[in-house]
């Protein structure tokens, strides 16, 4: 019972942790950004799961439907998705500049190059 | 006729006016130094005219501003502070006179900065002397530290900077680390920081807490140079001699012990002080400080360093006297502030004179110098007597009362300690003038003898004044003694 009730959440946690792992592990900056994306997206999945109501339909009012999914998490996540892509775009732009300035986007190489000067 | 409050204002503001004047006239040496001298004399006169009202016990008080509820910058002329400000302002004028000779003779740079910071320091001393509460006192205490720091590093050499670092580190360290903490604790315990006759603490304040507090005060006032926080004083000897003379024989160190006296008398109160368990321990600490510093002084070959350790030792006397918590001990302490000031400043003046005239800093170089510089070395001799505490000098009185204080408190061990350290002070001070007169020329290197003459006349005049002071104080200690009686 517990497993069925919380299955979604646990998978979501696993996804989050994979994303976070990729972020912390570092290495390639683009990989880091992808990790960040996974991390964020899994939070979105979590929110949408919270808004799920058994048997509820999409929150667009229709004749004869009584039960709807919770629209509020949807709204929040719409905003969060936009925030996510905004962050990604900026991060990628930074990665490009770092490549131009350092000649690499491997975290370790950047750090050694910084400590040299 | 100026009102007493205005006099007090004047005493606090005059140094600042002097700073402005010195800054403005920075280009014209003579005018600049005339302003310094004039301000010194005026300040002394102002403080003197406060003597009567204070002696009669009138309330002379001014308030500048209130920082936060209960925490204000306020001043009150009371006997102990007056005593301190009298000496400081008098010796300021004298030292200025001396400095004119010294700085010119020694060809020092940055003289405008020197004179203006000198004035700031004296302003800070006035603030400390007349502070109505611990907060005001703390403010000026820090101003004094900060304004004397550039004086210590005046030479700008690596050695001077290193000395300055130790100076600032210890003084700021102890004051922020312990003193401020003690003030905060006092504030929370007593609800007030005002100096109050009889102390501010309730009778039921836990003694253990007061013990901690007292220790915080004794160590926090780093300027009192109680061991192990005395290292700044020898380090400060890299400063030009007038600085050492005025600040490190009079203003700064005396500010330290003065704060201790004031805290003992007006924050704790002598009765409470006597009942605190930690007092006993701190007394012995001060005693050890006296003895150890004397021993160290004996081993110093640099003249100024020896004088510095002698100061550490003498400051120990004063701290000890205050902690004895008896009226005789306290009087001895307060008197010793005066006597030691005159004696030690003379000694430093002499050391500076020797440096300017003969370019010598080490003790072994001084053999036979008495013949070239008789006035200086006679002054040195008399001042030494005053430090040791034998007639015909004023130092006799303070030593006498200190002895009496140990007797009253039944501290036989401390009494023995005092006597022992007096013997030591004979050993480290007297040989210097004696050898200067009675042994052969120290310059055995065979080079052609250099013609050595006395120091420039302004310096010599200053030496004369303070030496005379040392002797006169034997006969006329009453003015000060009465003041101390009023304070008690």
């Amino acid at each position: 019972m517990l497993v069925a009730a919380l299955y979604n959440y646990w998978i979501v946690i696993a996804l989050m942790m994979i994303g976070l792992f990729v972020v912390i592990l570092g290495g390639n900056l683009v990989k880091k950004i992808i990790g960040l994306n996974i991390f964020q997206t899994s939070v979105f999945i979590f929110y949408i799961s919270v808004g799920k109501v058994d048997g509820g339909s999409a929150p667009i009012l229709t004749e004869g439907v009584e039960l709807y999914s919770n629209p509020l998490p949807h709204v929040l996540i719409l905003t969060a998705i936009v925030v996510g892509i905004a962050t990604t775009a900026l991060a990628l732009a930074l990665a490009i500049r770092i490549k131009q300035a350092y000649g690499t986007i491997e975290e370790r190489d950047i750090q050694t190059r910084d400590s040299q000067c | 006729m100026i009102g007493n409050e205005s006099l007090l204002q004047l005493a606090l503001l005059l140094p600042l006016v002097a700073v402005a004047g010195i800054r403005l006239l920075g280009r014209h040496e003579n005018l600049r130094e005339a302003v310094s001298l004039l301000a010194g004399t005026a300040l002394f006169a102002t403080v003197c005219s406060l003597y009567d009202p204070v002696f009669r016990g009138e309330l002379v008080e001014i308030r500048w501003l209130e920082l936060m509820p209960g925490l204000s910058l306020a001043f009150r002329a009371e006997p102990l502070g007056l005593l301190f400000s009298l000496i400081a302002s008098f010796l300021w004028s004298v030292t200025t006179l001396y400095a004119i000779g010294y700085m010119r003779g020694h060809g020092e740079g940055n003289q405008t900065r020197f004179y203006s910071l000198f004035a700031v320091s004296i302003g800070a001393v006035m603030g400390i002397a007349f502070a109505e509460n611990l907060f005001t006192l703390f403010v000026f205490y820090e101003v004094l530290t900060l304004s004397t720091y550039p004086l210590v590093t005046h030479a700008g050499t690596d050695k001077a900077r290193a000395g300055g670092r130790v100076y600032l580190g210890i003084l700021l360290g102890t004051s922020i680390g312990f003193f401020l903490l003690a003030i905060v604790a006092t504030w929370l315990l007593a609800g007030t920081l005002s100096f109050t006759p009889g102390g501010v603490f309730d009778a039921d304040t836990p003694r253990s807490l007061l013990s901690v507090l007292l220790a915080l005060y004794v160590f926090g006032v780093g300027k009192a140079a109680v061991m192990p926080f005395h290292r700044w004083l020898p380090a400060a000897m890299v400063a030009p001699t007038p600085v050492s003379a005025l600040l490190h024989a009079v203003a700064v160190v005396k500010a330290g012990v003065f704060v201790l006296l004031k805290v003992c008398l007006l924050i704790f109160g002598l009765d409470t002080l006597g009942s605190i368990p930690a007092t006993e321990w701190l007394l012995y600490l001060a005693g050890i400080s006296v003895l150890l510093a004397s021993v160290v002084a004996l081993r110093q070959q640099n003249l100024k360093a020896r004088l510095a350790y002698s100061t550490v030792s003498q400051l120990g006397y004063i701290t000890m006297g205050a902690l004895l918590a008896t009226s005789a001990g306290f009087s001895g302490s307060a008197l010793h502030i005066v006597m030691h000031a005159f004696g030690k400043i003379t000694l430093f003046f002499c050391a500076g004179a020797i440096l300017v005239a003969a370019h010598k800093t080490e003790i072994h170089q001084l053999r036979g110098i008495g013949r070239q510089m008789p006035v200086t070395m006679v002054a040195f001799f008399i001042a030494s007597l005053s430090i040791i505490g034998i007639p015909p000098t004023g130092g006799t009185w303070s030593k006498w009362y200190l002895m009496l204080g140990t007797l009253e408190a039944g501290q036989w061990l401390l009494m023995a300690l005092l006597m022992g350290s007096s013997l030591l002070s004979i050993a480290y001070l007297l040989p210097i003038p004696l050898r200067a007169f009675f042994s052969g020329n120290g310059q055995d290197s065979g080079g052609p003898p250099v013609a050595i003459r006395e120091a420039p006349w302004p310096s010599l005049l200053a030496i004369g004044v303070t030496t005379l002071g040392c002797m006169l104080l034997l006969f006329y200690p009453n003015a000060f003694y009465q003041l101390i009686k009023v304070a008690l």
Binding site: L76, T79, A80, A91 | M68, L181
Partner: protein, 492 residues
């Protein structure tokens, strides 16, 4: 119009930002942004006045009632922080023109001002709002613009610093989002008032605890609380000088505000400080931050970096104040919030002047600068003395309150360690003073070469504020006392 003050506070710079792109002349854009921030400052002053006079202001955006729509809720705490942010933002902006003209290319300047305004409004928005999700949105506005602003620094290390900050900041914001999600899950609401009312009934379920933990970590990442501070020193050191001054004076303050808002107002003192071992954690981490960061600061060669570490240390002080868990401690934190903004604003602006003239912020560049740039160095000395906490400077007031709060709640050891932190501040400040005044310059005989007036005036404005608020403490004391009292009164 007065009824709309809460929203105008945020909307003015927010709407002004895109307008910059339409104006397209960098000098004009600067003037425009400056006027806008001045207007925001006026609004925040009026707001504070209004809150003092008539209590909490609630503003319903879109006209929808509180838990359904988004509410702006201004009490004395956020009115205070709004004033700090808008005042410092304005002063720094006044200085920006000269410095930015030298440090950025023509094309980037307009973007700089636009991003500056966006960051400004983002910070104000975080503070003004009474809705937790809205906090997240405005946090991202301010963060994204900050990353870009930092990356505009000329040194290539600015890029790497910005990237690191971006990763850390995004992880932090996502943690915050997770925490908010948990809170929403158990309460069904996003409104702060509503949350505060509904949380006690739920008690200490693991979900609430986890929400608390995630929100805390998320904020502390932004706050650069030790040991989550790693992004900060590089970001401060390599960002354009005025950006450093701006974020040092405002961004961490806003994060501290968030911490107070969440721990004290939303979760409540009882929950935050009594149920959890948070008190020990905050005091411990705060002190650790104070001491380690100060020690590290002593060994920095780059002065911007040195003061950056000092900022980490100062954040420690504020955290300790919160951790004490008393109204007095909170008041000390709120005071330090203000005073530290003044100090760091003055210091970093003065450094901007040095960088402008000398081109470097290394300690060797400071040799003999006391003669070459007497006014700039004078401001640094005042700021430094205030940082140490000398009496008659603003820094003393906050130190005094913090130490008395510690002693009052019998945390003697804490008091002693706080004081030790001050001593370390002496060490690193004095290294700078010594270099500037007691070392001869590497190229002697260089004539006095002061920073331009447009930099010097704002710098001195802040330096004098350090002195003024060290003496006339009525305003900060009254406001912070009222704030800490209402926060604790409301929660207990």
């Amino acid at each position: 119009m007065l009824a709309h003050l809460p929203v105008l506070q945020v909307i003015l710079p927010l709407v002004a930002a895109p307008s910059c792109l339409i104006i397209r002349k960098s000098g004009l854009v600067w003037l425009f942004t400056f006027l806008v921030s001045l207007a925001a400052l006026t609004v925040s002053a009026l707001l504070l006045q209004q809150v003092i006079d008539s209590g909490v202001i609630s503003y319903h955006l879109g006209g929808w009632d509180a838990p359904w729509g988004i509410e702006y809720r201004i009490d004395i705490l956020n009115a205070w922080v709004l004033l700090i942010v808008s005042a410092l933002g304005t002063v720094v902006l006044a200085a920006a023109h000269t410095s930015i003209r030298r440090e950025l290319e023509e094309g980037q300047q307009i973007l700089f001002y636009t991003l500056y305004l966006l960051c400004f409004s983002g910070l104000l928005g975080i503070v003004a709002t009474g809705d937790v999700f809205n906090v997240f949105v405005f946090l991202e506005i301010s963060s994204l613009s900050t990353y870009a602003l930092i990356a505009l620094g000329r040194d290539r290390r600015a890029l790497w610093a910005a990237f690191q900050y971006l990763v850390m900041g995004t992880v932090g914001a996502t943690f915050l989002l997770i925490g908010i999600g948990f809170l929403y899950m158990v309460t069904g609401t996003l409104n702060m008032q509503d949350l505060a009312a509904r949380l006690p009934a739920i008690g200490t379920s693991t979900t609430v605890l986890a929400a608390f933990a995630f929100i805390l970590v998320g904020i502390c990442l932004k706050l650069a609380l030790f040991p989550l501070h790693l992004w900060l020193p590089n970001a401060y050191a390599y960002a354009p000088s005025v950006v450093t001054a701006f974020i040092a004076a405002t961004a961490t303050k806003v994060a501290v505000y968030l911490l107070i808002r969440f721990t004290v107002s939303i979760f409540g003192v009882d929950f935050s400080l009594s149920v959890l071992p948070l008190q020990h954690l905050l005091i411990g981490l705060g002190l650790l931050g104070v001491l380690t960061a100060s020690v590290v600061a002593v060994y920095q060669m780059n002065i911007k970096r040195m003061f950056a570490y000092s900022s980490v240390a100062q954040v420690g002080y504020m955290i300790v104040g919160i951790g004490l868990g008393t109204a007095a401690g909170l008041q000390a934190t709120l005071l330090h919030l203000f005073n530290h903004a003044l100090m760091k604003g003055a210091l970093f602006l003065a450094l901007a002047g040095v960088v402008y003239r000398v081109g470097s912020a290394n300690i060797s560049a400071f040799r003999g600068l006391g003669r070459r740039m007497p006014w700039t160095m004078g401001a640094i000395v005042i700021g430094g003395i205030s940082l140490i906490g000398m009496p008659l400077t603003a820094g003393f007031i906050s130190k005094w309150y913090l130490i008395s709060a510690a002693v009052d709640s019998s945390h003697w050891l804490v008091a002693l360690l706080l004081v030790a932190g001050s001593l370390l501040a002496v060490a690193y400040v004095w290294r700078l003073v010594e270099a500037a005044y007691f070392h001869s310059p590497e190229t002697p005989d260089k004539p006095a070469d002061e920073a331009p007036l447009s930099l010097l005036i704002p710098t001195w404005l802040l330096a004098l504020a350090n002195l003024y608020f060290g003496v006339d403490t009525r305003l900060p004391l009254a406001v912070t006392e009222m704030a800490s009292r209402t926060l604790f009164g409301g929660a207990l």
